[in-house]
């Protein structure tokens, strides 16, 4: 090792020191500890007692675990799917040269800035079955609306709709992607006689597919962490009939209400593995249709 290499190593480690500590204390240690706790009976108040794979075995037999997993998958798929369609549509409309685009962009973007707590309170009020603005609006056009958050068949959908309202965030990302697509490609497609949908599916979407891919992966990871909306709008039990009991909500109840931290850690690790698998699967899938070269 030359003296330059040595001084570089020293400097590099010095600059990275905060992160090396942070990584160890706030990420790697908790991750490893969570795995150890997941093999233990642990209540925080008493030292953990090793019980092997019991927590995982119990988890597989726990109907609430499966229920919360289903609820979360429903929410993640619904909100990411509809969210992508909505944000792409908005971005396609806004990628034009007519007047007032900046105003529209602001109007679509503002809702995504809403703090989750405030947004949840607002939608709780709007979804009110009797005096809520949504059902009264539907009544005005002759539709008898459901009880939304009080109806097990609609509660999840209601939370998905609220999530789609925050599509402005992804819209900004897609808009930036669209503006980078060279116009020459569209001109070439026009000369070849491509119609609107041909241009959309053969030029626009392939050109921004890396952006879509990245955003979808991050949104699914985010979707699996849904907690606050349900906690505020339907309570920590995930009412009605546990139809909004999301995975993290269940994890919170098990860990911080029932103090079954070992069991909660097993749930945490299962969540971690699910996210890893999803990301890996998305990467594999993306190799088939994401276009990285320009």
């Amino acid at each position: 090792m030359t003296s330059l290499e040595r001084s570089n190593l020293r400097n590099g480690l010095m600059f990275c020191a905060p992160w090396l500590i942070g990584l160890t204390v706030f990420l790697i240690y908790p991750l490893v500890a969570a795995f150890y706790y997941s093999l233990c009976d642990y209540s925080v108040l008493l030292p953990p007692v090793f019980i092997g794979l019991d927590n995982y075995v119990d988890l597989m037999k726990d109907p609430l675990f499966w229920k919360s997993l289903y609820n979360t998958a429903y929410f993640a798929v619904g909100s990411v799917g509809l969210g992508v369609i909505m944000s792409l549509t908005l971005a396609l409309f806004l990628n034009s040269k007519v007047k007032g685009i900046a105003l529209y962009r602001t109007l679509f973007f503002l809702p995504s800035l809403m703090p989750v707590v405030a947004g949840s309170l607002l939608w709780l009020w709007m979804y009110n079955g009797e005096s809520g603005i949504i059902n009264n609006g539907l009544r005005a056009i002759g539709i008898h609306g459901p009880a939304w958050l009080a109806d097990p068949a609609w509660a999840k959908t209601a939370i998905v709709i609220m999530a789609v309202w925050g599509a402005g965030n992804a819209m900004v990302i897609y808009l930036a992607g669209l503006q980078d697509v060279p116009t020459s490609l569209y001109e070439a497609a026009l000369i070849d006689g491509a119609g609107f949908f041909q241009r959309l599916f053969n030029v626009t979407i392939p050109m921004i597919s890396p952006v879509i891919y990245f955003n979808v992966v991050m949104s699914i990871i985010g979707g699996f962490q849904a907690f606050t909306q349900a906690f505020i709008m339907t309570g920590s039990t995930g009412a009605p009939e546990r139809s909004t009991l999301f995975y993290v909500l269940n994890l919170y109840n098990v860990g911080f209400q029932d103090l079954r931290m070992g069991y909660a850690s097993a749930m945490a690790w299962v969540l971690f593995v699910i996210i890893l698998v999803l990301t890996f699967a998305a990467t594999k899938l993306s190799q088939r249709w994401v276009t990285y070269d320009r």
Binding site: N11, L31, V117, L122, W125, A170, I173, G177, T228, G255
Partner: protein, 419 residues
């Protein structure tokens, strides 16, 4: 080129779907703001009313806001006291309180409520289904004044006018301490349960300002912490060639996939063993040790700065820290503000962290305080709840209009929205 295609980039027909979508997206926000400006009795009407309306009676040439006429629960008598605090002003009392030409009046004397008998003349009996105007507008009150007045329905008129009083009332309502939980809700909301008097404010240790300053404290410290530490680490990962930096960078990227809920149980254990549960420390100290996403973002930017700048400084005798501090950081200002902004938003919006780590109301952040308030009310007082929500959103909206460019740039270059 004239095209019938509505998605043509210059076709003005594009406004039609855009306006429709903009209306749909804006309705919730408009509804939030309008509800927060409505008086209590207007909230929850079927069909809903949009514009805030206030009811008034005109007394001695002055417009006094009142709650609209409501049926009296039981028969009352209208009497005119000839003594007491306000002789000559007609008041409505229960028949039981009017005996032998005197009425029983409760008067606040210093911190006590005293009962007095005041001579009064009977004007008329008011049947149970008559209308009265209940409660004056709160700020109009002095603690001594009677609050129920008999008014003919025709004397009441309506004006479209926003009620800004909901905001101070929401702030007062959020001012809840542990002791407050045992008190009746009506008192918590600053409304007297007894119609004649209004009790003086209880001494409160925890106020809305406590929640606000807690939130700001956490926000400022974590912004400072993450900007300082993440930029240092990003420098180490991009501007210095050292063995292992590639590995560390790959690990950093991988950790972006580990969500907080996976770590929260053992992290709780870590903070518990440090004795930090119930304090704000777990919410800002980790920021001083860098964040994977912020490091990634800043590293990508630092890589675009030409290496010659560092070399030139090195020849001039500048050490690594000097290069970082005097050359790289000033150039990275736009990226640093993106990191600072997103961190601020993350703290301001965070709910799960405060929920787990904070146990005492005097350490609550705004988001947690608002949720606690909501769980006490359990689906009522929407005007106050919306007022409080506006107070939570407003700083973010103001920030957006001042730093619009940073927001849009940050989101579109990072592909994430500060989440």
């Amino acid at each position: 080129m004239a095209s019938p295609n509505p998605l043509n980039r210059t076709n003005p027909l594009i406004h039609l779907p855009l306006i429709l979508l903009a209306v749909l997206f804006s309705i919730p926000l408009i509804w939030l703001i309008l509800t927060s400006l409505q008086p209590r009795e207007q909230v929850g009407k079927i069909p809903p009313e949009w514009l805030p309306r206030q009811h008034y009676i005109t007394l001695q040439g002055e417009n006094i806001p009142v709650t609209p006429p409501a049926p009296v629960g039981s028969e009352k008598v209208l009497v005119v006291p000839s003594g007491g605090e306000h002789p000559g002003k007609p008041v409505l009392v229960d028949p039981a309180d009017y005996q032998d030409g005197t009425i029983k009046v409760s008067v606040q004397v210093a911190d006590r409520v005293e009962e007095q008998r005041v001579p009064a003349a009977l004007q008329q009996k008011v049947p149970g289904n008559f209308v009265i105007v209940k409660e004056w507008f709160l700020s109009k009150y002095t603690p001594h004044e009677a609050r129920i007045f008999y008014v003919e329905p025709g004397d009441v008129h309506v004006k479209i006018k926003p009620l800004f009083g909901n905001f101070p009332e929401a702030i007062r309502a959020l001012t809840a301490s542990e002791k407050d939980k045992a008190r009746p809700l009506s008192e918590l909301l600053g409304k007297s349960t007894f119609p004649w008097t209004r009790k003086g404010d209880h001494t409160k240790t925890i106020t809305f300002l406590t929640y606000l300053s807690n939130t700001l404290l956490v926000a400022i410290l974590s912004v400072l912490g993450t900007v300082a530490s993440s930029s240092m680490v990003a420098y180490g990962l991009s501007r210095i060639e050292w063995k292992g930096r590639k590995t560390l960078f790959n690990i950093t990227l991988a950790t972006m996939m580990v969500p907080f809920p996976v770590l929260m149980v053992p992290l709780y254990g870590v903070f518990r063993s440090l004795g930090w549960i119930g304090t704000l420390l777990p919410l800002w100290v980790p920021a001083f040790f860098g964040g994977a996403f912020n490091i990634f973002l800043l590293r990508q930017f630092f890589l675009t700065i030409p290496g010659e700048l560092s070399d030139a400084a090195r020849i001039d005798g500048c050490n690594e820290f000097g290069i970082f501090w005097r050359i790289i950081l000033p150039l990275a200002r736009p990226s640093l503000s993106v990191v600072a902004l997103f961190q601020f938003l993350a703290v301001w919006n965070d709910f799960l962290g405060p929920l787990i780590y904070l146990t005492e109301p005097d350490t609550f952040t705004m988001a947690l305080g608002l949720q606690q308030y909501q769980s006490q009310l359990g689906g009522s007082e929407w005007h106050l709840m919306m007022g409080a929500s506006v107070l939570l959103v407003l700083p973010i909206i103001v920030l957006f209009f001042f730093a619009q460019k940073t927001f849009i740039q940050g989101i579109s270059t990072t592909g994430m929205g500060g989440r």
